[in-house]
């Protein structure tokens, strides 16, 4: 019974190179980190031969003219790993997903179908090459020996039974992936190869390094036996599409999205699952604006990013691709991507399907799916930021609110009832403490007005064709802020009692009347304009 280990050396580099054919046969390094602290985290052999060292700063690596520098791409690595799994599964259903860069196949029973072990190994190498990988293959009767050999030796290696220790002798102990503490101890001991480790007396080693030491010793001798941990398909639902030509039109995009959503929902259905969260990611055509990478995401909104992302959160688990498409379309209509799309990634977070029916004694309410669709339509009409329940913000800026998305109550749940009671109790207590206050009707946004000022105090108001005299004035009440933002504010508010002269047409006669009211008027110091903020009842 033999096992074949497939290992992709310099995985981070290969993950990039397989999607950028031009990089093949060139020295490539991968940098990672937070700008401007980019360091070399991986490099192929050519790069290392050119003098590149791991940990080097990007600027230092850039001094090597022959070396190509690329940023680490977790996405490409994920794709490469999936491809590696596909490669393994195309040969055998019995496969272990050992590491992102390594898989192990059970070759038992494959000979009738695919030939001898040597033949299978060659086929694997060929197939890996078709997948865009330069792979190392090792075949052994011991799983661990196969893995170590594939990590340590290039090309195809066969380890005959009983020859494991001899073949692995020259491998560095690092290849055994010991814990950092043990690696340090071994370094202090001057034990740097499997041969040296294997030569140590195991009993004394166990006294010093414990069971991990014994395990490493076994590994170094190629004497470690274990069974295969079979890989299971994951609960990871993602569909991805790279577009040859960038797409700008929503209709064309909808067609592609529909296909992806269909596929996604089919997969969910096959597993008896649904989703409550759909993540929509677009890679956009590169814009000429330079990315600003100094601020956390909250402050980065103003810059033009190459990524566009939307999160579709649903009140109930759904697996209806048509409904999802409608919701996605509405979301894209209200907030379209700022540039043409070159890549689409759709992912769904799996959830259990909805099984609970509505309560019998509750008044009928619309189906959650339909309600969500309606809210999405409203959002599309009035803007997403304008749908929901208002929430005051922690700022001195008068009347500053944001809209919080409606939350669907979890029907019949004990928690929601408790929360509800708590809320009622809190409101009741607050209303007891709070003194009665005047009502105030707020105009949102403020209504422009013209104001005559004498000695710094408003005396006359012109508003929507009306003229009003200020009877009493109280103010100004001054606020300012956001001086560090591009749009700071500075306002002087006045509480004004105003007599408006009103012309009333009655029976062809025009009579003049006065209407008195108390208003809140403010002067926007930055824009040098007056506005009505609201009216006191």
């Amino acid at each position: 019974m033999a096992f074949a280990s497939i290992h992709i050396p310099d995985f981070m580099v290969q993950a990039i190179v397989r999607s950028e054919i031009a990089l093949r046969d060139r020295a490539v390094v991968i940098v990672d980190g937070t700008p401007p602290l980019w360091n070399v985290v991986a490099g192929n052999e050519r790069a290392l031969q050119a003098g590149i060292e791991l940990g080097m700063a990007k600027s230092q690596a850039a001094q090597f003219n022959t070396v190509q520098i690329r940023h680490r791409s977790p996405a490409q690595e994920k794709v490469a790993h999936t491809a590696l799994l596909d490669l393994g599964w195309s040969f055998s259903p019995r496969m272990e997903d050992t590491a992102p860069d390594t898989v192990v196949l059970d070759l038992a029973g494959l000979s009738a179908l695919l030939g001898s072990d040597e033949h299978i190994a060659k086929k694997l190498a060929k197939c890996a090459s078709d997948f865009g990988f330069v792979a190392r293959i090792a075949v052994s009767e011991k799983i661990e020996a196969a893995i170590l050999a594939s990590r340590g030796f290039s090309g195809i290696s066969f380890i005959a039974s009983g020859e494991e220790a001899k073949r692995l002798a020259s491998l560095p102990v690092r290849a055994l992936l010991p814990s950092l503490e043990i690696l340090e101890t071994l370094e202090r001991w001057g034990v740097d190869t499997c041969e040296k480790l294997a030569a140590l007396p195991v009993l004394q080693l166990s006294e010093r390094l414990g069971q991990e030491g014994v395990h490493l010793h076994k590994l170094a001798r190629g004497d470690c036996s274990r069974s295969l941990v079979l890989a299971e398909p994951s609960l990871f639902f993602e569909e991805e599409m790279e577009l040859e030509d960038a797409v700008e039109e929503l209709e064309s995009l909808s067609f592609l999205l529909g296909r992806l959503l269909d596929r996604l929902c089919e997969r969910l259905v096959a597993r008896s699952l649904a989703t409550r969260v759909v993540r929509l990611q677009f890679e956009l055509e590169r814009s000429f604006d330079k990315d600003l990478q100094l601020f956390p995401p909250s402050n980065r909104q103003k810059s033009v990013s190459r990524q566009y992302e939307k999160l579709l959160t649903l009140p109930v688990p759904v697996r209806d691709s048509k409904l999802l498409l409608k919701l996605v379309r509405l979301r894209l209509q209200s907030d379209p991507p700022p540039a043409a799309i070159v890549k689409i990634i759709l992912s769904a977070e799996p959830d259990k399907t909805r099984t609970v029916q509505g309560e019998l004694f509750l008044p009928p309410s619309p189906e959650p799916e339909k309600l969500e669709l309606t809210i999405a339509r409203l959002g599309n009409l009035v803007g997403e930021a304008n749908v929901g329940s208002p929430q005051l913000m922690d700022t001195h800026r008068p009347g500053e609110i944001r809209m919080k998305k409606f939350l669907q109550a979890r029907a019949g749940s004990e928690i929601s009832r408790k929360e509800k009671n708590k809320f009622i109790k809190k409101n009741h207590e607050e209303s007891r403490i709070r003194k009665p206050t005047n009502g105030f009707r707020i105009f949102r946004p403020g209504l422009p007005a013209r104001v005559e000022v004498r000695d710094g105090c408003p005396v006359r108001i012109f508003f929507r064709g009306m003229r009003g005299n200020v009877v009493t004035a109280s103010g100004p009440w001054r606020t300012s802020g956001d001086w560090w933002q591009e749009e700071p504010w500075h306002q002087d508010e006045w509480d004004l009692e105003i007599d408006f002269a009103i012309s009333v047409k009655r029976d062809k006669h025009i009579s003049h009347a006065k209407q008195r009211g108390v208003y809140l008027v403010y002067y926007d110091v930055i824009h040098e304009s007056w506005f009505f903020r609201g009216m006191y009842d």
Binding site: G33, T34, P35, P36, L37, Q60, T185, R188, W189, G190, V191, A199, L200, P201, Q204, E207, R208, L209, G210, L292, Q293, L294, F295, P296, S298, N299, M393, D394, T395, H396, G475, P476, W477, R478, T479, S480, G481, W483, W484, Q485, E486, H490, D492
Partner: protein
């Protein structure tokens, strides 16, 4: 008219943005006659405000906002000296019982100390606002009634502030009602937090720092608007047009507040004189005793000088001060603590006679007025150098003990925002990514030299920050604005103030972070400005080295060396100095000093004084080094700036090198008195002001005109004085240091082993890393033995070897080994030797595996159990077993311990050793290979930062020689212009501020140190290699002039000698 009576300065730490000087300036600008500064829980900024206000002709009124138990603050204004004392007492009480930066007072405590204080009802943080918020007008009335009970109705003012805020105005209306009800006066204030509206931004930043928030998340913690600035009378009249009495009362109240810091009432403590004699009489007696021992009876010149000084001291009523310093010195001498006065005190023959200083000012002709002058009207400044560490702490604790916990305190050190701290804190407030911030702060270079383009702007660009971005621009703007604003209060390294009676009546006291210490709320300059006497008890590493050396010599050599009676002109010392063989010697070991020594060629003590003073920014910037050296070598004729100055400049060959000379020049050339000359020095000193400098310069020129010194001579003199005053050494100070330099040189030349051990025991100090000191000592023939747990103590010590001594390295050099564990090892070893590593682990159970590993790796366990021939890896093999905790089933080691203990108890001598060895033999057999030379080097540097074995370069000498690379020793025999290749480990990299961007490298190999000079252009080119590589190969032209040898570098390469992480001393 209006007077602002409630302003906060930046000394409210993160609650105000304006320095006291700025507040005073803007107040004067606004035409106000007085201003009251009320900082939070202190009077930190009061002296600076007082000094600034005096200059602006403003009355500086004082107060403080004192935090109550509930969190609100009593705004208190000081009416009289009693009030000030009460305020100081109250603040001290609350501070001393709380953690640093915290504290509050109870109403009872306030009630005990209300006399002389006026209480305002405050603004947002005041008592009335708090009461109204938590109970409406009824509670407000209760609060005001309570304040009236505490302070008396005449001393409570209802404070009204108007910042265009509805809620505040509602509160004002309630306050008006309460004022009417209680018939209390109204008082308009603006609760000032900044001088100008635009400073609001900084206030918001401070708010974020205080609350650990960012601007994006601070919300309503930020200021509502920018109205809390210092407003003019007109603006306040407009605001309070409806309440004119509130404005008028500001004038009335300001007139009531009679106290300023001019009325501080500070008294220096009286020295308790025996027999009811006067202090002056007692001082005279002690001085005469000292004079006889220092000068003998026949030195008439000294007697006259001392009489003159005593007369000045008597006239200025300072005998108490001298006696108190003498008392501290006497304490040190009695407790065998080395002590020496430094600075201008060495100009005084009285100080010399009293044993405070060690330099003879009469013999050296030093100017007494530089130290003390009747004209200056300020206390003299005596700084005492003490061995750093415990000895100095003993002296400090003696002062506390002598004058009481509330009679003496350390002076404060106000920590202000600087480049790095400013960028870091503001960056956080702006929510910058931590990585970017790290990069940015790293970029704020540690180089002393800043080239013209090395501005914050450039640093920002280097960090990849786009200055065109509005937030970045704002960030940079705020980084500049925040510079020098106070961040928090620290403790000065050695300044102490003492007081007759209670010091907490003069200034509030606070606990220091260090236990057993209290600090005053003022820094040392503020204390001096307020006329408080300060004694600096400074820790000096070299004093500790000297003291330790003497102790080692006493114990090991059996000799007593008296530093005050060292042979005066020891030829070996001067020969060594002339060769610049000065690694480890005080003040003359730097590369610049080494480059100067062969040219100066010291032959007497005064030459060392000159040597110490000449390598200073003053003489270097004033271009006086080369003329002096040329004249000394006879290459340039000696000439004075003016014939009348010959007596002054004769000793320094016509080149002014010391501050005293400048003072004398001013006295002779311009007819200044001693006091005026000192005034001139101060005008050009650290706190220089343009106006003051102009005034003094004018007076100087007038004086010289009068004496007929005009034209070029006058210009040269003025230039010398102006460029020199800031950075020059006083001759007396240089002489004090030269004494220490001579002593260190003497000890190094004659007691190398003791001096090296003492140097190694007092690291970090001086210019070089311990490894350089060690290698230098080895080159001078000293044998240094490695760390060995069977013999090493915590400190390095001497071991007898033949007729001489070897140094045994101490356990303090084992990286990561805790001092208490080392002490436990030494203690257990003294009981009986360790028979094995396992037994060591059993007897020192707290030792950790990492500590054992380092000990094993550096070879310190090789001799445990009396074994010979074990290697480091054997020990490493053993410690892994010893360090593992056995499970309950495996009690073998426990049994082993019991067996060996039993053996020790029942048998003795060889039998014990034999059995123990037999039992251990199975444990020490290791299958590991011994370390290679390279592995040992790496382990030595990793574990101790040094190696006692050969220098890493020595292993490659043959190979290097084959490549045409010379060793450092060879260079001295080559002539200028020779093209050379030299290699070595970098021990120092320097880019001094005075060297126009040149970089100086010191490369060490097994034969000595080679010096290299890199031009700014070359440095730019090889920056990465020069800064980051440990071993370098350089190529260039040799310069060998007057035995000063250096290589002018043309190319630099990294050299792969070893992976060992050697250390260098960089960027001084």
């Amino acid at each position: 008219m209006y007077t602002e009576l409630h302003a906060r300065s930046a000394f409210s730490f993160l609650e105000g943005t304006s320095l006291p000087e700025e507040l005073a300036g803007v107040c004067a600008e606004r035409g106000m006659a007085a201003l009251a500064v009320l900082d939070r829980d202190g009077v930190y900024g009061a002296p600076r405000f007082y000094i600034a206000a005096k200059k602006m002709d403003i009355r500086p009124l004082i107060g403080a906002e004192v935090t109550s138990e509930e969190g609100w603050r009593y705004p208190l204004l000081v009416e009289s000296r009693l009030g000030y004392q009460n305020l100081c007492h109250t603040i001290t009480r609350m501070k001393l019982r709380a953690l640093k930066g915290e504290g509050h007072v109870s109403a009872t405590e306030v009630a005990e100390k209300t006399a002389g204080l006026i209480c305002l009802t405050g603004g947002d943080e005041g008592p009335l606002a708090h009461a109204l918020k938590h109970g409406g007008i009824e509670n407000g009335m209760k609060c005001v009634r309570h304040l009236c009970e505490l302070f008396g109705c005449d001393n409570v003012y209802i404070e009204l502030q108007r910042h265009y805020n509805r809620a505040e105005e509602t509160r004002n209306q309630a306050a008006l009602e309460i004022a009417r009800k209680f018939s209390l006066p109204l008082l308009a204030t603006n609760g000032v937090c900044h001088t100008r509206p635009e400073h609001l931004e900084l206030l918001d930043v401070f708010t974020c720092v205080r609350h650990h928030r960012s601007l994006a998340t601070a919300g309503r913690l930020l200021a509502r608007n920018a109205e809390r600035h210092l407003k003019s009378a007109a603006e306040m009249e407009h605001l309070f047009a409806d309440l004119p009495e509130a404005l008028a009362n500001t004038q009335t109240l300001a007139a009531r507040l009679q106290f300023t810091l001019s009325d501080l009432g500070y008294q220096f403590p009286t020295y308790p004189v025996p027999d009811g004699k006067s202090q002056m009489h007692f001082l005279r007696q002690r001085t005469h005793e000292g004079m006889l021992s220092r000068y003998g009876a026949a030195n008439e010149h000294a007697r006259r000088q001392i009489e003159h000084e005593l007369a000045v001291i008597e006239r200025l009523d300072l005998p108490g001060y001298f006696l108190i310093v003498w008392d501290i010195v006497r304490f040190c001498q009695e407790h065998n603590i080395l002590v020496q006065g430094r600075g201008s005190a060495a100009n005084s023959a009285v100080c010399y006679a009293l044993g405070i200083t060690a330099v003879d000012p009469v013999g050296m002709g030093l100017l007494f007025e530089r130290f003390l002058s009747g004209e200056r009207g300020e206390w003299p400044d005596i700084d005492l150098d003490l061995p750093s560490g415990e000895q100095r702490e003993l002296a400090i604790q003696y002062v506390y003990e002598r004058y009481g916990q509330l009679g003496a305190a350390m002076t404060a050190n106000v920590i202000t925002y600087r480049g790095r701290s400013a960028a870091r804190e503001i960056g956080k407030v702006f929510s910058f990514d931590p990585e970017v911030l790290n990069q940015l702060t790293k970029l704020v270079g540690a180089w002393e030299y800043k080239d013209v383009n090395d501005t914050l702007d450039r640093q920002f660009r280097d960090a990849g920050l786009d200055l065109q971005h509005p937030q970045i621009r704002k960030f940079l703007e705020l980084c500049l604005k925040i510079q020098d604003l106070p961040r928090h209060l620290g403790q000065h390294s050695g300044g102490m103030v003492v007081c007759q009676g209670q010091l907490d009546s003069i200034v509030p006291l606070e606990p220091a972070t260090m236990p057993g210490r209290v600090v005053v709320q003022w820094d040392k300059d503020d204390c001096a400005d307020m006329g408080m006497v300060k004694v600096d008890l400074l820790g000096l590493g070299m004093m500790a080295v000297l003291e330790d050396s003497l102790k080692i010599i006493r114990e090991d050599y059996g000799k007593e060396v008296d530093l005050s009676h060292l042979p005066a002109n020891d030829p070996v010392v001067y020969e060594t100095l002339q060769k610049a063989d000065t690694v480890g010697m005080f003040q003359v070991e730097s590369r610049a000093q080494m480059a100067c020594l062969p040219r100066l060629h010291p032959t007497c003590f005064y030459d060392i004084v000159v040597q110490v003073a000449i390598i200073r920014p003053g003489p270097i910037v004033g271009k006086m080094v080369n003329p002096y050296l040329k004249r000394r070598q006879g290459r340039e004729p000696v000439s004075c700036l003016h014939p009348s100055l010959e007596p002054v400049l004769e000793r320094t060959l016509g080149v002014p090198l010391f501050q005293e000379q400048l003072l004398r020049i001013a006295m002779i050339a311009a007819g200044f008195t001693g006091g005026e000359a000192e005034e001139l020095r101060r005008a050009f000193g650290f706190k220089r002001s343009e106006q003051r400098m102009k005034e003094v310069e004018k007076k100087l020129r007038q004086g010289m005109d009068k004496n007929g010194i005009t034209g070029e001579s006058q210009e040269t003199i003025v230039r010398s004085i102006t460029s020199f005053a800031l950075y020059g050494f006083p001759e007396s100070h240089a002489a004090s240091f030269a004494l220490l330099a001579y002593a260190s040189a003497y000890l190094k030349c004659h007691y190398l082993a003791a001096f090296t051990a003492a140097m190694l025991n007092n690291q970090p100090m001086g210019f070089y890393q311990p490894t350089t000191i060690l290698k230098d000592a080895q080159r001078h023939g000293l044998r240094v033995k490695p760390i060995d747990v069977t013999t090493s103590d915590w400190f390095c010590k001497l071991e007898k070897e033949g007729s001489g001594f070897a140094v045994r390295l101490g356990l303090r050099y084992v990286k990561g080994l805790r001092a208490d564990i080392a002490s436990e090892i030494v203690g257990q070893r003294a009981v009986r030797p360790f028979v094995s590593v396992e037994e060591l682990k059993l007897r020192v159970p707290k030792i950790q595996k990492a500590e054992l590993a380092v000990l094993a790796e550096i070879g310190a366990l090789n001799f445990v159990g009396g074994h010979q021939g074990l290697h480091r890896r054997d020990a490493l093999w053993q410690i892994e077993r010893a360090a593992r905790v056995p499970g309950p089933l495996f009690e073998i080691t426990e049994q082993f311990r019991e067996n060996t203990e039993e053996l020790y108890e029942t048998e003795s001598g060889e039998r014990v050793q034999a059995v123990a060895k037999e039992k251990c033999s199975r444990l020490i057999e290791s299958p590991l290979l011994p370390m290679t030379v390279e592995e040992r080097l790496v382990a030595d540097f990793r574990g101790t930062g040094m190696t006692v074995g050969p220098h890493p370069m020595a292993y490659y000498r043959a190979e290097l020689k084959a490549r045409g690379i010379r060793c450092a020793m060879e260079l001295a025999n080559l002539s200028t212009g020779t093209h050379v290749r030299v290699a070595g480990g970098v021990i120092a990299r320097q880019r001094p501020g005075t060297a126009k961007g040149f970089v100086f490298l010191s490369l060490e190999d097994e034969t000595g140190i080679a010096n290299a000079i890199i031009t700014p252009q070359l440095f730019e080119h090889y920056h990465v290699v020069v800064v980051h590589q440990q071993f370098l190969l350089i190529e260039g032209q040799l310069q060998n002039q007057d035995n000063v040898v250096s290589v002018k570098v043309e190319s630099v390469w990294p050299l792969a000698i070893t992976r060992a992480e050697t250390l260098s001393h960089d960027f001084h």
